[in-house]
Subunit: 340 residues, 2 copies
Amino acid sequence: MVTMSDVASAAGVSVMTVSNVLNERGRVSAQTRLRVLEKVKETGYEIDLTARRLRAGRTDTVALVVPHFDHAYFGELAARLAPAFGAKGKHLVVEQSGASREGELAALSAARLRMYDGVLLSAVGLSFEDLDRISVRTPIVLLGEQRVPERFDHITMANAEGARLATARLLESGARRIAIVGGEEPSRAPSMASQRTRGWERAHVELGADADRGLVVQLRPHDAPTARDAIRKMLERDERVDAVFAVTDQVGIGVVAGLTDMGLRVPDDLQVIGFDDLALARHVAGGLSSVDPGSDWIAAQAVDILEARMAGAAFAPRHLVSPVRLVLRGTTKAAPAARR
Amino acid sequence: MVTMSDVASAAGVSVMTVSNVLNERGRVSAQTRLRVLEKVKETGYEIDLTARRLRAGRTDTVALVVPHFDHAYFGELAARLAPAFGAKGKHLVVEQSGASREGELAALSAARLRMYDGVLLSAVGLSFEDLDRISVRTPIVLLGEQRVPERFDHITMANAEGARLATARLLESGARRIAIVGGEEPSRAPSMASQRTRGWERAHVELGADADRGLVVQLRPHDAPTARDAIRKMLERDERVDAVFAVTDQVGIGVVAGLTDMGLRVPDDLQVIGFDDLALARHVAGGLSSVDPGSDWIAAQAVDILEARMAGAAFAPRHLVSPVRLVLRGTTKAAPAARR
DNA sequence: ATGAAAGCGCTAACAG
DNA sequence: CTGTTAGCGCTTTCAT
């Protein structure tokens, strides 16, 4: 392997000069610079990032830690983040925590963290107390719905608001019994599911409708096959359900499949709205109506904050909530004339 | 920050003893071991992986380099790989190359490679010559369809065979004009698209049908929106098309959406088969028929090979082709009685 | 403008 | 069983 000192001797200079040339830290004559660069090319030298990291404490790499590699939402988020970090000279890598407390703690261990200049963590398994116990100097931006200690930067979606928007739309379009598939008792610790259930409930209250707890269909895991199965059981129990708010698009896709299995038509027999506005949503089920959680905004903010922290900026921890927006497609009916 | 020597002095031993305890390299009395571990816990010490890497040349981390973070196929592959590597004490991270030659070269630069004990690279932009120029000692397993130098371990899918299977099935079920959406002139350098087009062609030849080149619909990029648009244009040009082989499930989903846009029914008016057998395939479009590319097998082989290489095993480079299998669902018609 | 010395935190190799 | 020495490849600091 060719090291810096190989290049140095080839160029007849000291390693320091090579280092200075490569890091563009001025103080090098144009002539020397050229000679060094030439030798770099000649020898095929490439810097050892590990060594630099050890000495300079910098890796120019940031990590995004997601619950599962195969969650489309995070794939899309990562795809948005990568070029944004790239533009700032940072390299993005994605890790998987397995959605477990242990996995997330491991990702946040000092050992792992030290490999990165900054970390974006989508925490789902960690409690407030777990997070509070963490003390590292690697900048971390937390993503997700749970309650986090004040001192962390944190970006979340307007979960309840998105769910409220979707549910209100269904009620306004005439739906009376709206199942929430993937919902959860709102009393529990804040989670994606519980917050969206809260929004579902709130819409009912605001519009003077009855939010029947019997319409909350819990899901474990939150995936399409489980949802497909669950909606069938729900309808066998209560055939008056006339709309579904699915807590994610994945779930929504499963719901539509389940309804189709039963010979039901969407949106004529039942309307469906999902959440996440995945790229695929517009191409399935005649266009899955969904809540756009503002992923572009989230990615932009995350990069901004992390960049600033990595540059050493000191500012009060940011706690941001992304703007959400309802995107209506084929799985919902046209609004009734009386709507406005 | 607490280092190994902090722990050492706290425990009244040398750093070497601490190192030995942590690496379980025997030769430490149970008593000392306990004292050291106690101090480790007390101080909250965590090893600096960078330093270990620099000295020991090992990171216990492997990278999977994919074209794009938001390709569902790779998300699913990564999800399969992560636990398999985890079981062997390796940690998986995913990087994105941007599907470009430059991006892939950067991923394969010695600098990057040295951060990992091994690399799985899904190469799509690199030429044979590019690959041939690469010389590093980090074990690499190449994934994908292009031609690679003999000396690399390489796993590919039976692309042509999968396409042949799918196309033959369509022909047997009565289809006469089968468009291949996302196809490509088979004369070009081997690529996913060209190999699958070859299989499409072969099926026609074998069954005495005419593979009309006018039915090859090129796509750039290979995504659902593009496919949705392309199939519409194709049908406006040639309304006799009665089936579609989509080179990927993503494309297949776009095709189904496009057909639905035109008021056509699947599979009654046109049948559709995709490729990849994504987890979502069974839940969309009444069940998207697809070619299962043997991802489980691919993941298992990839882990095996890379593990062995990382352990220093010397064996002839492996060149493997995964077994494929047709999975028929709702977007294809039942086979005609006369089939066998 | 350039270089020498020191050391980041760890572990291989050996000595005791 | 434990410790000493040396050094991985780089950058910080300070001297020239």
